[in-house]
Symmetry: C2
Subunit: 538 residues, 2 copies
């Protein structure tokens, strides 16, 4: 099938017309879900994950049109090309091979003449050996103390994914090691962490592909000053994860060990690379990390090999586009009914908003309609007692509910109103999508619920490392599928550059003033100058 | 001035027309901010807080129209009526007197014939005495151990505000007491906390106005079972904060102490009542809590006594309405460049979205345009490395930046690129609003920044308890001012009721099945039944 252009293509036009139909009262969700066989026809199971989109505002005709959109926009072909190393990151002329980091099935994968699978596996062997040696006490701090505190210095993609996984799998952390994230350049972040750690038992893990990120370098500087003050040898307490040949991989600046970060893996897709592998192996043990990888591989394999109509992340991407471009919802919430998944929303917030918050397509043509969605979320039931008032009676936004069948802590079986805590949680997980969908008539307008508010529900069997890996891969695949359909590049992020440039100019003024208290700040614009004077005069 | 009706009123119409003008290219923010005196004309200082709205998409004419809107909608009069005890919560026939909780200036305030100021002060005296006795070791656990762990059991407004304040003021916590929040009914929440606490040194603080919240009762049940298992006398380890005569204030069920929660203070406005006073006094000492109250009082006093054009929270409310209804931004981000303020956005998310996510006005008439905004946020610079790509080049949303002049931890002065960490943070705090406002031309569309993206900047001198109190009051006042202008009731939340009703029905089915494994689930709708079978069959 030839590639159909996005907005002028026949399918997009048909979907627009379909949205008008779906906006009519007879297609209110309360009617749609009353149809026999609704759940069966609008749900999928893959890699033991259940995905229910029966309470999305679509019918069979809409769904078929969305499948057609995936076909004419060649979503599956692009996904396959991505996993084979095609340089889909066109603006930076790079491949996007995060799926290779968890590919246990293939024997080789060549990129620019090199077998990157063997390179990845070699790095993983090094990480396994290193973490085993740390856990076994063969690698210790400079005073002989075992490492008990790991401080990850890294920002954005260098920690958000890892934080999601380490929070989700915290109950597996049995290595006597605590993990801290020093992401923000804010001195409060550093100050709060050094109050908690034992310098002799602390390993500083500095993660930056380019090793030029100002926040990370500032924090490394503080860490080194802190170690100097405490008499700690930094070459025995610093590990780096960075690109080959970066300033962090410099023999003149010796560190305990340096692990390679490949340029074909972007920050927000890097959890399964050394970026996540080093901290997660130290925190959980390499075996747990590998189980996590295997879960991600299972979902990758599903995304790669399933036809459109059975392809869970692709269907989720199509629904996201339907909600965004056709039903015109500007935002989406992710609400896991599982406290350990509390950091999923912040991770997906970066993954999706940074990948797809774009205004040009891969040919450099401006998009006619906004792509990219505002993603936010908190765990349920907390979110119900926070912002669900708006979801039910105010501005509508689609919600992705996530449930877990088997909780940890099965020993607590106390009943309240006849049910366990976990059952109470599920009573809410089940009631919310239904309340949002159906609404309720009421003579009192303040108690009237319009309903027709769409949601999906994802169910995991439990919070095993494998299932957390599947969730990670699901959201990665969903994100790139959205981009492939829109025809945008989900792997660059030029939108963050301008702020960096302006910050660099301001930093220069500050540095000059630090050196010379009479340095004039007149070259800054009046508003910026006002703030600089405010900061320096205090 | 007579009350002008909202949408058909002359002012609303003029604002609509003005939005068309402001949407024209000559009113791009890069032009607006270039005007001489821009910052001075579009900023305010109150209670030592600086509020800069120079990079909002408004000019003097717009601002005058917004002031007129506040006048014709009687925003200040309603605020004043609120603080005097008028029953503005019309659907529940209640006053909204959270400002009374920090009123140190008045001598009395009568509501329904009772002086509530003396009642509030009496409760605060009890709280001071109680926390002093806990800190002094006069009140201990049943085995004589001092209390070192406080577990707050409460959800929504019973913890979100307290969590914001306790996180912001963590560095003042010198009483050897750790604070845990058991909000979610999710057993993972309970399981993770009981791994950390010493049962003999743990005080359980149960917070619920009605004492009927299922999540809170479930968690109380678990806490009691846990104490029974550990041989702890619950009457010596439980404290309640609840309404008079609620099931939590029942002499038949003795607790260590019970503090009164007044029905004229709503959950999301309750941080300054016993809801926040008990945990924060235990965590920080009552004196610190009182300093926090005094800061809130200062901002209340400003909001109550300042004319419209100098009234900081009112101007912020007007700008929020301008962005929402006229420039049509559906969401707003709150980005504090201060890690201790990390829990501000989740608090304001509840405060604002639950207050103003409404579809009817106080007369019970449906609103013609959406009110209520999606609020989300993470600290900067973290947010820059997460979702700011979308802010700069994707879907635009207004941002509220927050900066703090003096950080804690002044001892860390290491320079990186010539600046301290705190200066690096400020370089970013200053560059982002400017980059968003001005944008940048570029021949390469992928590197083009459209700019014209609005933001405000709030500056605090430091993170003192007083300043955190001002911030709390600022957002409370801003929220109710929005509601007063729209003419909606910001104090009820009927939108959360339908989910509760449906959850109750599902809970009943679960309880019946727990008692009798042959209980049929056929009375549930097919989708819900499917999930119930899934949960019970595993």
């Amino acid at each position: 099938m030839t590639l159909q252009s996005l907005y002028t293509g026949e399918t997009w036009q048909k979907l627009r017309a379909r949205a008008e139909v779906m906006n009519q009262p007879q297609n209110h969700l309360k009617h749609l879900i009353a149809e026999p066989n609704r759940l069966n026809a609008f749900s999928l199971t893959a890699a033991d994950v259940f995905y229910d989109f029966s309470r999305q505002r679509l019918d069979t005709i809409t769904l078929e049109l969305l499948f057609e959109l995936a076909r004419v926009r060649r979503a599956l072909e692009k996904f396959s090309a991505m996993t084979k190393g095609e340089k889909l990151n066109v603006t930076e002329n790079r491949a996007a091979l995060h799926t290779a980091t968890r590919d246990f099935s293939s024997t080789s994968l060549y990129l620019d003449g090199k077998d990157i699978l063997s390179e990845i596996r070699e790095v993983n062997r090094q990480i396994k050996a290193f973490s085993d040696q740390v856990h076994g006490g063969m690698i210790c701090g400079c005073t002989g103390k075992r490492f008990r505190h790991i401080v990850v210095i890294g920002i954005g993609g260098s920690y958000l994914g890892t934080e999601f996984v380490s929070t989700a799998l915290k109950s597996y952390a049995d290595r006597g090691i605590d993990l801290y994230y020093l992401s923000n350049v804010d001195i409060h972040n550093f100050g709060a962490i050094v109050r908690e750690i034992d310098p002799e038992a602390t390993l500083w893990l500095i993660i930056s592909k380019s090793y030029t990120t100002p926040e990370t370098l500032s924090n490394e500087g503080l860490a080194r000053a802190f170690m100097a003050e405490k008499g700690i040898d930094p070459s025995k307490h610093i590990v780096t994860v960075t690109g080959k040949g970066s300033p962090g991989d410099n023999p003149a600046n010796p560190v305990l060990q340096s692990f390679n970060m490949f340029d074909f893996i972007g920050g927000r897709y890097s959890v399964c690379s050394a970026v996540g592998a080093v901290p997660l192996s130290l925190y959980l043990g390499y075996e747990m990390f590998e189980r996590f990888l295997k879960g991600a591989e299972a979902m990758d394999s599903h995304a790669l090999h399933s036809p459109i109509q059975e392809n869970m992340p692709l269907v989720a991407a199509l629904i996201a586009i339907w909600n965004n471009n056709f039903l015109k919802y500007p935002a989406q919430a992710i609400i896991p009914y599982s406290a350990p998944l509390a950091k999923l929303a912040p991770h997906v917030q970066q993954l999706n908003m940074e990948s797809n918050g774009k205004m040009v397509n891969t040919e450099g043509v401006f998009m006619e309609e906004p792509c990219g969605t505002i993603i936010f979320g908190e765990p349920g039931t907390n979110a119900q007692h926070s912002f669900f008032q708006l979801a039910h009676q105010g501005r509508a936004f689609p919600i992705e509910f996530i449930g877990v069948i088997h909780p940890l802590f099965p020993q607590y079986r106390t009943l309240s109103k006849g049910v366990t805590n976990h059952q109470e949680l599920w009573a809410n997980l089940l009631s919310q999508p239904m309340a949002l969908a159906t609404g309720k008539e009421d003579a009192d307008p303040a108690r009237y619920f319009p309903g027709n508010r769409p949601s999906s529900t994802l169910i995991l069997k439990d919070l095993s490392p494998e299932n957390v890996g599947k969730l990670l891969s699901f959201y990665e695949a969903r994100t790139v599928f959205e981009a492939f359909i829109w025809g945008i590049n989900p792997f660059d992020q030029f939108g963050v550059e301008l702020g960096k440039v302006l910050a660099g100019e301001i930093r220069k003024e500050m540095a000059a003033r630090n050196k010379d208290s009479t340095h004039s700040l007149d070259s800054a614009d009046p508003i910026t100058r006002f703030y600089l004077e405010m900061l320096f005069s205090e």
